[in-house]
Structures are given as C-alpha cells and as structure tokens.
Symmetry: C2
Subunit: 466 residues, 2 copies
C-alpha cells in the first residue's frame, strides 16, 4: 500500500513552541519530531508519500530525507487548504502515478501513536477493507468523554476480523465535538470511536466519491498535471480552492464507509493539556524544575538548560522559549489560539516566527539584536552553501567556531579554521559553503545601519531564491 | 546630620532577579535602583555614608559615584554580619571622624519610600529627639495585619511634636513577626507601628548602649582602626563577629527609646508578593503581557522584550530572567528562599549568579555558551580598562560594535572602529581600554578547549586583582 503523510498543519495550538515557522509536526516532544516518527511508523506499510506546504518545505524536505523518503514522493501545496484538498491531491497524484487501484492511506504527520504495531495491524485490516471497495477509518477506542474530538458511530455490522480479534464494522455518522453530556453518552455506549483522521482507501474509489460529493474541489484538483510536485505547479488549482476538511467534504456524506475500533495509544497532541496528560501517563519529567508546595505537579516545558521554580501552584502548564512564555492553568490551553490571534493583531513577530530559522542550507539563530548590532549563530550543513550575496547596509564578521567552511569573498576563496575569522564589508559579494562532512558553525556579528533579512542581493543560489 | 545607608543585604527573596551577585538594593524595580533612590532620598539630610560588603563592592561604588557620594565615605565589610555589626561599625567610624556628638541615622538601602518629603520630615523630628539623647525609630503606621514584619509598641508619653502634628512617643517593646491574631490586634490597637529598620541617634550615645548591651560585638568593632574602609582593614575584627540584628542586640534591650509613627509610603520590597502589591496599588504594568480568562490579574516581571501569555490563572507571580524562571502563587513567595537553598544544594549556578557580571571596568554578559565556544557581550565604561592579561586555553575574537577601544596586544596598540575586529591568540597578552567618553561594546567569541573565568593570568590591573 501507499501511506500518504499529511504534513500541512500550521498548528498554533502548541504556541509558543509551535509557530507558523515551526508547526507541531516538527516539534521534538517525544524522542524525535512527530513527522519523523510518523514516517518511521508508516514505512513498514509501504514507501510513503508526503503532502507538505510551501511555508515549511525546508523542514519537510529535511525530515523526509532523514527518513529515506525519495524527493519525487514529496508534493508541496502553495498554502494549507485543510484536509479535503490535501487528500484529493494525494488521490489524484497517486492515480497519475499508476497507483489508483492499489490501496493507499492518509495519516496526519502531527499525531503520536504509542503502540506502532497495533497501529499497523489496524491499517492492514483496513487495507483489506479498502480492497473490497470501502473507505475505512481507524477508530480510536475512547478512554474518556472527550469533547474536543470528532466521534464516529459504528453499526453492529461486522465486515471483517483478523486473526487476533481486531474487527472492521460498517460505520454511520460523524459527530464533530459533542457537548459534555453527549460525549459522556458516546463514551459509555461502546459504539462510538474517535476520528483520528486516518483513512484507508483505493484512490480510484475515492476519486469517485470526490467527484460525486465535492465536485468543485475535485474539478480543480483533477485539472492538475499528474506530475505536479511544487507550489508553482499547483498555484492555479489552489487559487480558489475551498478550505474544507475531508470529514465534512466527503466522509460525513458517504453512505458506505467502515471503521476499525482499535487502541494504538493514539493522541492528537492537540494542546498543552494533552502533552501534560501524556507526560503524566508516561511518568516523563522535563528539564531542571524545583517544585514546592504542589508546584511539582505542574507541567514545565523548559527552554534549553534554564532552571524553573514553581511554587504553590499544582495545576499549571508552563511553556518557555527564548522570546515567549506561556503560563496556562490546566484545562485552559485551548485559549492559546486566542493568545496567538491577539499577538498577531498587535503585529508581534512572536505570533508566527521564532528567533531562529531553518533554511535549506542549515539554520540561523539570533543571539542578540540591538539597534547598533546583531549577533547570530549560523550552522551550515554538510554539502550545503548559502547564496552568493551582498548587503548594502551592514558589514558582517564571521568567527568560525566549528568545522572548515569555504568562503567566497569577492571572487577569492578562503578556508578559515575554528577561531579564525573573515570580515565581509558592506557591498562585498560573499558566500559560505560547507564542503566537509561535519556541520560548520559560525558566530556572525553584523554592524551597520540596518539588519533586516531583506537587505540582501542574491547573485546565485542553490535553492532558486535569486 | 549624617545619614548612613546600610547596603549589605544579600537578599535572595527576590530570586531569580536578585541573586548574591546582584542583591535587591541594586535592582531597578521602581525607576532606578533601590540603593540609588535611597541615596537620593537621604542626601538632603546630609552627606551620606555607605556601609557595603566586599561581594558587591563594584556595584556599590558605581551607585555611590552616580549619587555623588565621595569614596572616603564608603566602607566595605568583608562579608555581611547582619545589622548590629554594620550599625556598630558606622557608629565607631563616625566617632573616629569626629562626628560622635552629631546626629546620625541608619537607613536600609533596599526599601522603597513613596513619600520622600514625609520621610525626611520624620527624620528631622527624630534628629531633634536624638539631640536630646534618645535613640529614635521611624515607626510605620500599619495599613494591614502584616505577620512578616517586626512591630514596635509606643506608649502614650509624647516626647515631641512638629508644627504639622507629627509626634515622637516613648516606645516600649519590639515584637518580631507576630502570628495572624496578634498582628490583627496590633493593627487595630493604634499603638503599634512597623519597625522599618531606620534609626536616628548620636554615635556617642549609641556607643554607650553597644558597650553595655552587646559588649563582645562592641569590643571587636571598637578595636578597628578608625580610618578603616576596606574589607582588608576589617578582616581581623570580623573574623569571629556575632551575626545579630541591631534590633535583637540593642533595641529590644534598650529601656529608653522613642518612635515616630509616620506614613511615608514605606515598603521593604521583601517578596514578590510585596512587589506585586505595590504594582497593583500604583497601577503599574510591566512588559508585553497577553492575559486571558483572568490571567491579566497575574503579576509578570518580564525579561528584556520577551512576550508573556497568562491564561486562566489570576493569582500568579511570574518572574523571568535569561536562565531562571519563577512561577509562584500569590501569597507563597516567601518560599522562594527554599527554592534558592535547593538550587544551591544541587550546585546550580543560578542560585547565586546571573549569566552577566558587573565588573569594575564595566560589564559582561554571556550570549551563548557551548562546549566548543562561548560568545559574550562586553561593555567597557569610559575611562576604564580591563587588566593586562593572557589566557592559556582559549583564543578570543573581538568585534567592536560601539565606541573606539584602545587595545593592547603583546605590546602593540590598536584602535579598531565599530565593525572592525581583533584576534587574540592563546598566550597573547592583551588589554581593552576605553579612552573615550562613551561606552565601548564588543562581541567576544572565545574558541579553544576551556572557557572558565579562571583561565586568566593578570600582568597589571587598575583594580588590584593581579
């Protein structure tokens, strides 16, 4: 089968750790990024595809490369358009690749699944259902009356059963985020499961459902060149695409779909409350925390090796980063979305961006920015190089602290060792390359009159940014 | 009269902002440091003296210089020995300076007084009492049944009254930190005032009280050379000195003392609860804070221009710094002392030191420390210079970002401009001086194998640290 990992989330629900520049699927919360773990989890099912978005292309490519996913199995939407568009696009491209009759599955990149074997067993049973023409969801057996999820009702009609007693049932009805009483009734009924956004189907079958149930969406997607992979290829199709969820656009209207109640230790990692719940369940403690008078019960997500003291408050969620701190009472972390909206409305950069950035060539991080200078730490990955560029309003001073970069300065080649430095006057053309096998790191000190990232003239670029 | 400012506190109660390296009196919480404000407040009464301690000599000298206090009116204890020793030392040195018969007053450096005119009026009435042979305390009229303070009971015997109705009464009895019921009774009685640690007296009179009531302490102090000013001068006397408070050693045993009930808007700034109380009373908001669902009621002391979100928790004290964060429920900030003790027991440097340090020549701040490099921001004040020094295990790279330093490198003189840099190889003798009138700033990048502050050989030093 072909697992398709949907990596388009721009999640603000784990702010300030997740931001538009670093969405949830790239966070390393449970030993590796959620996207990396998802790719590793689905790889035994088949070579995965990834549907990403332009805004996080660099991060997605890096995670895919680390997981051994070939670049031709990556596609990047120009911008997130919710799950219906992403699933339709995957369905269309799989058909274009001659895989319309083979089973495929879509899996969110930003969920956590503790029991990977149970997950794959359920997917394999779902694949059997898909081969029989069904669209099959993985239904998570509820352990609490959760009001934040969508629920799926199964019928008593058993469609299939594997050797270990896992069964697929005909399903009926999707119920988005019920109220507390309804959720309690659902949880008690034994007939309701959580919708985890994991669907298994044959693209040819699903194409028919899309054409019937979401004809406008499907028409736009079906017009795309089946070899499309880049935001540029998809710009025209996405211009006026509706931003519906796959649940609403298709599943809720589908008369013939199945669900497999299972318990793979699933979490949507959808809020700090949920991360804290998982930490508590796993007995995980993070960082250097002194808790007093109940403070030890609070959840702390530390920034680097900073130390934390929580006194007299047992029910807090404390999430720290270099430039933004969240303190929320347990149970109130859904309001983080409002925090991000407020900050965005105030024009605060912390709403969407970190003081570090992942770039195709590596990473930079601002160590200090003042009116009269800016200091950064740059990392250039092996085999990568920055664009050949010049700045009008600043000079740069690079001190090598790791590795052996190759620096081009107005046509000359320099090879400074750690502890050596290069001065780049304003106006000079310059480039940093890492021809070695280890990362190169430099401390960059900018002086001059303006330090914005837009003071850059690119003469040549490996990543087409000229 | 001679106001004597006691600046020996090593307060941990405002951790993580205050630490042993930066005690409370040096914090800029209310427009200027508490010490600077105290010096400005007492200066109209007479040229102040300052009793400081060796550990914070640099900070104390800087604040005294800024306030125009002549260096010969500064004395530094080798280490803090509580208030009895500091008051006795001031008393002894004033007598040695021929001021034994003139009125003096001692005033803590780390309190806040909102109504400075009311304060000075009370001190002037106290001075009249001192001239009549009394030891006179400023008694703060209570506005709440505070259990954290010491209380003083006045008698009905009025000793003096000024033209505006302020009166001095004979006092009796000091009561340290009463329980809640007692404090309530005290506050309701109209006869009790708070002990704010402000005492007015003639040194000759107080010398007699010390000799009678604390003979061991007085014997040790009276043996000091009356010209003593440095920790070295005082080392012998302080070796075995008892660490009692002036209240316990003298005032509680004194049969003849007076108090002036007054209301100068006094606060001991003794906890984050108290700082939050003052902020609320003054309508002061600090930093960029998004408060939701009650979070806007919490107190936040921000770090630099970081942004804060507090959700669903109205009763928190959040104090952030570069390397340590405190979150405490309102009313529990007394436990901060225990936090500091725990961190110290764990050997965490954040218990006592900040990642920046004030030095006689200026200041440095660690921007980033890794195993393979360390980046600092240095500020060299006008007219100052670092020692002529060398390092064995690291080379240093300085990029000038402000001002025009004069750099000595193995005997050569260099004058780099902003944006220019100097490389200091391991083993090279080097010195940075600021001959200009504006501060010099440099970003220093250290590379090598060891970055401890103890890898330093000093060949010459303006501050006697060779």
């Amino acid at each position: 089968m072909t697992p398709v990992v949907l990596s388009g989330g721009s999640g603000t629900r784990l702010w300030p750790l997740s931001r538009a520049s670093l969405p949830k699927q790239f966070l390393d919360l449970f030993e590796g990024s959620l996207l990396g773990r998802t790719l590793a989890r689905v790889a035994p099912l088949g070579a995965p595809w990834v549907v990403g978005v332009a805004g996080t292309e660099t991060l997605t490519r890096r995670a895919a490369a680390a997981a051994g996913v070939a670049p031709e199995r990556l596609v990047f939407e120009p911008e997130p358009r919710n799950t219906a568009a992403a699933v339709a696009l995957a369905c269309h491209l799989l058909r274009g690749a001659g895989r319309g009759g083979a089973v495929a599955g879509v899996f969110p990149a930003d969920h956590r699944i503790a029991d990977e074997e149970a997950f794959r067993r359920a997917v394999r049973l779902a694949a059997a259902g898909a081969r029989a023409g069904w669209v099959v969801t993985l239904g998570i057996r509820p352990d609490r009356p959760e009001t934040g999820y969508g629920w799926i009702e199964r019928t008593g009609e058993e469609l299939a059963r594997d050797g270990e007693g896992l069964a697929a049932f005909r399903a009926q009805g999707f119920r988005e985020k019920p109220d507390a009483a309804t959720a309690a009734a659902f949880a008690a009924s034994g007939r309701f499961v959580w919708n985890a956004g994991m669907f298994v189907f044959r693209p040819d079958d699903l194409a028919g459902h899309f054409a019937r149930l979401a004809p406008d969406l499907w028409r736009a997607i079906a017009a795309v060149d089946p070899a499309a992979a880049s935001p540029r290829d998809l710009a025209a199709a996405y211009r006026d695409l509706p931003g519906e969820s796959f649940d609403v656009a298709v599943m809720e209207k589908l008369d013939r779909h199945a669900t497999i109640p299972c318990d793979p230790g699933w979490s949507d990692v959808g809020s700090w409350d949920e991360v804290a719940r998982l930490d508590r369940a796993d007995g995980r403690r993070r960082g250097a925390v002194v808790g007093l008078d109940g403070g030890e019960e609070s959840f702390v997500l530390p920034h680097r090796d900073k130390v934390y003291a929580v006194v007299g408050a047992p029910d807090l969620l404390v999430v720290d980063t270099a430039d933004a701190l969240l303190v929320a009472r347990r149970g109130s972390s859904q309001a983080v979305r409002t925090v991000v909206e407020r900050l965005a409305a105030q024009g605060r950069p912390e709403a969407a961006a970190h003081p570090f950035e992942e770039r195709p060539w590596g990473r930079f991080e601002v160590l200090r920015e003042e009116g009269h200078f800016k200091a950064k730490l740059l990392r250039v990955d092996p085999g990568q190089r920055l664009s050949y560029q010049a700045h009008r309003h600043r000079q740069e001073h690079w001190v090598v602290v790791r590795g052996r970069p190759e620096i081009t300065l107005d046509g000359r080649l320099l090879h400074p060792a750690p502890g050596e430095a290069v001065v780049v006057p304003a106006g000079a053309r310059h480039r940093i390359a890492n021809p070695g096998a280890e990362p190169v790191e430099l401390v960059e000190v900018q002086t001059g009159s303006y330090f914005g990232e837009d003071d850059i003239e690119r003469f040549e670029d490996d990543y087409d940014r000229v």
